[in-house]
């Protein structure tokens, strides 16, 4: 059965690959250079703050639970099954408590010489309290079995496109590989402490394929109703369709070592256009991070940065590439500011951030103009 599902995932992946890529959807972002306000929006979207407490020391990002604020079709179905079975089973919770109270008040020995009853069995009663629970069990089991089967197979996966993602757990962070087109793996790296979110589009089926590089982990975001173990040497699968845009918190659910409690998970659900943007940005990530490390290197000479940017554009000088570089520089600055930007450092870091971003913008525009001039004749 597992193998069947695996095959299904691969097939679904190929199907997604066969479809025309969604560049058109994100056309507004990919074909025009983004304004810096747009870059800031992207940074806030793809690098969300899940850690903050507000002035009342309440979390700024609430944890959504699967029963009250579900955010996927799976969670909604689980929630309705949950309330339904709670309802059907509740007599078996409440009835004994009521009977116990009745007994306590009614049959207390008050020393009035009342004699205790002498019965010690009643076939009819025993049949009733054996049979009635059986009926309740059947009533709950039938929809449960249906849900279990439904959860195993993504619904009409052939018609709707699927987003397959490989999820790799490693003490104490998560890696995501977005499997697309040529199955070239686009790797989301981890930044210590601030883990990158899993970005998924709203209303498309996400199929996660989980594994681990070391000990057992479990990927769990309550709002999606999804929890699956990541086990070394195995691949487990789970699917869900996120249906609410937003940022969602979760964490590793299987004891995996010292920092198990801090192995958190963040997922960002976006609309289709932003998702395309994210995948686009991921494509340039590694190259952009090289430039970032030069920008922040106090020993690096300005010419080195210029040369690196020129090299970056020599490989790909599309607008998307430029936007991606600007995005990653801004994102890393935001992380830096978030981390070290408390207290006296704050203003200095802010001005450094502005300086670096302007410099990159300048370099890109400059080189961009030159490339178009060369290409013109």
């Amino acid at each position: 059965m597992l193998r069947l599902l695996l095959a299904l995932v691969v097939a679904a992946g190929c199907l997604a690959a066969a479809e025309p890529s969604g560049h058109d959807a994100s056309g507004h972002a990919a074909s025009v250079p983004a304004t810096s306000a747009e870059v800031d929006r992207q940074v806030a979207l793809f690098n969300p703050e899940v850690w903050k407490l507000d002035e009342k020391k309440q979390p700024i990002l609430k944890l959504d639970d699967p029963f009250n604020t579900p955010a996927s079709d799976v969670a909604r179905r689980i929630a309705s099954d949950f309330w339904f079975s709670l309802l059907i089973f509740s007599p078996f919770l409440i009835l004994p408590q009521i009977l116990l109270l009745v007994i306590i008040f009614k049959f207390r020995d008050r020393g009035d010489g009342r004699k205790a009853a002498t019965f010690s069995g009643n076939h009819l009663l025993e049949v009733v309290w054996t049979a009635v629970p059986c009926v309740a069990l059947v009533i709950v089991t039938v929809p449960s079995v249906q849900t279990i089967i439904w959860m195993e197979f993504p619904p009409d996966a052939a018609r709707r496109d699927v987003v397959p993602v490989e999820v790799i757990g490693k003490q104490f962070s998560w890696k995501y590989r977005y499997m697309r087109e040529d199955h070239a793996a686009l790797i989301g790296l981890d930044v210590a402490g601030l883990q990158e979110p899993l970005v998924l589009p709203k209303d498309r089926i996400a199929v996660l394929n989980l594994t681990s590089e070391d000990v057992n982990h479990a990927w769990w975001i309550p709002a999606f109703g999804v929890k699956k173990d990541a086990i070394i040497g195995r691949h487990t699968n789970v699917w869900f369709t996120p249906d609410r845009v937003g940022t969602f918190k979760g964490q590793c659910a299987e004891l995996c070592g010292n920092d198990h409690g801090r192995m958190i998970i963040t997922a960002v659900i976006t609309d289709a256009a932003d998702y395309e943007l994210w995948v686009e940005h991921l494509r340039y990530r590694n190259a952009a991070l090289k430039i970032w490390s030069l920008v922040r290197d106090p020993l690096a000479k300005p010419e080195q940065v210029d040369a690196a940017v020129a090299k970056y554009l020599a490989v790909d000088s599309s607008v998307a590439a430029k936007n991606a570089l600007r995005f990653w520089i801004a994102t890393n600055h935001a992380s830096l500011l978030r981390g070290k930007g408390q207290g006296p450092n704050k203003d200095q870091l802010k001005s450094e951030s502005r300086r670096d971003r302007e410099r990159i913008d300048g370099l890109l525009n400059l080189t961009a103009r030159r490339t178009t001039q060369e290409a013109a004749p």
Binding site: S120, T130, L137, T141, I148, V215, R234, N258
Partner: protein, 562 residues
């Protein structure tokens, strides 16, 4: 005819040596009992360390992360990531989580019921001792090296085992060379051997040492329960030994039962482990189910309702209990048929359990009930156990388990069953049988305080845990999202009440020895209805219990009407 063999010289010891060398089932029962009481306090203290970590107000993930990002000092907590806490780092926290569970399961609840079975079962069936008295003594003394191995492992290099009481590989295979995990495995082995020996002893005793007239159809329910539980222990415990041996071998001898990179499978371990550990939950509660029937009947002045229903229910829980283990591991990814099968089988166990609950209620119905402390604990047990069992019903449903698995809902559920169930049972049994076992009464007025503090404490500790879990709090974590502050504070408050009541009980237990000796056989004045052998002999019973076949007639527990 040969001349009779010369009588071997019997040496009589007194004082400490008497206790160390005893093979009397009653003394051994008391050794078990005191071992369990002390271990319960140790395990409870470990729980305290966990609760106080989770109570520390600054210890939310958000606050910690903010501190880490800002490079400022982390908030004060018992355990901190950087080791600045009072008790060290998160590794220590995981050690506490592991040892709390191990001590409570292997040294408190399982031997707790064995303590009573040791003392009461031979009396109940009119036997003069267990079938194998020396093996019985060996069994109890094995628990001591076992406990010493586990608890002293805190002080070895690398600390105690920190991979949870489930010891899932590959996590339990990390830190090779540090002896903590290996000491844990050996501790489990010793406890397991002790458990198996006790099981064999009970089975042989119950099968072959019943007094004349004590037929199977007249066997007291506590004896029936001990009989079934001994079967579980005998069959399942070797399987646990196999599981932990795989860990031991993989760690130390280069095998790869569970090492994925060389062809093993970590999930194999989980299946084998739970094949023991699910039946183990019945080891931890069925004997109490048997005992509580006697308590309900005794203080209601009635016979147990539906004797055969009870026996059959216990037997079917035993049988089906062997076939539901994988409900602990739905999230590892299983074929659909397996998910459905394990769900349905787990749900089926609710039926015999329901029979028991309703039969207990019917036992009390129409009685003239005296609310002694033992009866209060019995009623409290019924109430909390029903809540715990209800959580189990919900968790058995696969799709809902995907949300609840390894969350605090599970923690709340099994604590509701093990503390609200088993521990309440142990307290009820103690208040009921302590006069027989020690010859001294426990204070009824202090007992009422103990009960109410514990009952409220249990509800206050474990109900909020269910809520935490429903909202998404993972288990075995030293810090949590700020969303869970309220429920965690409630839980810590409840813990304090529960532990306080246990301490009061402990003091009263010691104080009971200073009270006057009981001079009657039947201090609860119940034997006109119960007609049970243990109440027909002195408190405590003399050596070898009965000089002759017990003098009272065995009554038909069904009242002859069934």
């Amino acid at each position: 005819m040969n001349a009779p063999a010369p009588m071997p010289e019997i040496r009589h010891y007194t004082g400490v040596m008497n206790w160390l060398t005893t093979v009397d089932h009653k003394k051994i029962g008391l050794i078990y009992f005191w071992f369990v009481v002390l271990m319960g306090l140790v395990g409870g203290a470990f729980a305290g360390a966990i609760r106080f970590q989770l109570a520390s107000p600054g210890a939310t993930l958000e606050a910690l992360q903010a501190a880490q990002l800002a490079g400022t000092a982390a908030p004060m907590a018992l355990f901190n990531a950087d080791g600045s806490g009072l008790f060290g780092n998160y590794h220590r926290y995981n050690e506490m989580v592991t040892m709390h569970a191990s001590v409570m399961i292997f040294f408190t609840i399982i031997p707790g019921f064995i303590a009573f079975a040791n003392y009461i079962v031979p009396l109940m069936i009119g036997a003069r001792d267990m079938a194998f008295p020396k093996m019985n003594a060996f069994g109890v003394w094995l628990l001591f090296p076992s406990a010493i191995l586990m608890i002293t492992s805190f002080f070895v290099k690398g600390g105690a085992a920190a991979s949870g009481w489930t010891a899932y590989p590959p996590l339990s295979l990390t830190g090779v060379g540090d002896p903590g995990q290996d000491m844990w495995v050996m501790g489990v082995h010793f406890a397991g051997v002790s458990s198996i020996l006790a099981a064999i002893n009970f089975l042989v005793t119950i099968i072959s040492l019943r007094a004349p007239g004590m037929t199977w159809s007249k066997l007291p329910l506590f004896v029936w329960a001990t009989f079934f539980v001994s079967i579980i222990q005998l069959v399942a415990t070797p399987v646990l030994a196999a599981a932990v041996t795989m860990v031991l071998m993989d760690r130390n001898f280069g095998t790869s039962f569970t090492v994925a990179s060389s062809g093993g499978d970590p999930v194999l371990y989980q299946h084998i482990f739970w094949f023991y550990s699910h039946p183990a939950v019945y080891i931890m509660i069925l004997p109490g189910f048997g005992a509580i029937s006697h308590i309900f009947a005794a203080f209601s002045r009635k016979l147990v309702f539906g004797y055969w229903g009870m026996v059959i229910a216990t037997g079917s829980i035993t049988a089906v209990g062997f076939a539901v283990w994988a409900h602990h591991m739905f999230t590892v990814g299983m074929p659909i048929w397996a998910q459905n099968y394990f769900m349905i089988a787990s749900l089926v166990i609710a039926v015999p359990t329901g029979i028991k609950v309703f039969s207990w209620l019917a036992t009390m119905w129409g009685g003239t009930i005296r609310f002694t402390t033992a009866m209060l604990f019995a009623c409290g047990f019924l109430s909390t156990f029903v809540i715990g069992g209800f959580g189990g019903l919900i968790l058995a449903l696969v799709q809902i388990d995907f949300s609840f698995h390894d969350s605090y809902f599970v923690v709340g559920h099994f604590h509701m069953v093990l503390v609200g169930g088993s521990v309440m049972l142990l307290f009820a049994m103690t208040y009921y049988w302590w006069p027989k076992m020690s010859g001294h009464m426990l204070s009824e007025s202090v007992g009422k305080w103990v009960f109410w503090l514990m009952f409220i404490g249990i509800l206050c500790t474990f109900m909020p845990m269910h809520v935490s879990g429903m909202e998404g709090m993972a288990r075995r974590i030293p810090v949590y999202w700020a969303d869970f502050r309220l429920t965690n504070h409630l839980t810590t408050g409840g813990y304090c009440l529960t532990f306080l009541s246990a301490l009061i009980f402990f003091i009263d237990l010691i104080a009971s020895y200073r009270r006057p000796k009981i001079t009657v056989d039947d201090p609860w004045q119940i034997n006109d209805v119960q007609q049970s052998f243990e109440w027909a002999t002195s408190c405590p019973p003399p050596d070898y219990n009965f000089v002759q076949v017990p003098p009272i007639p065995v009554i038909d527990p069904t009242g002859g009407k069934h």
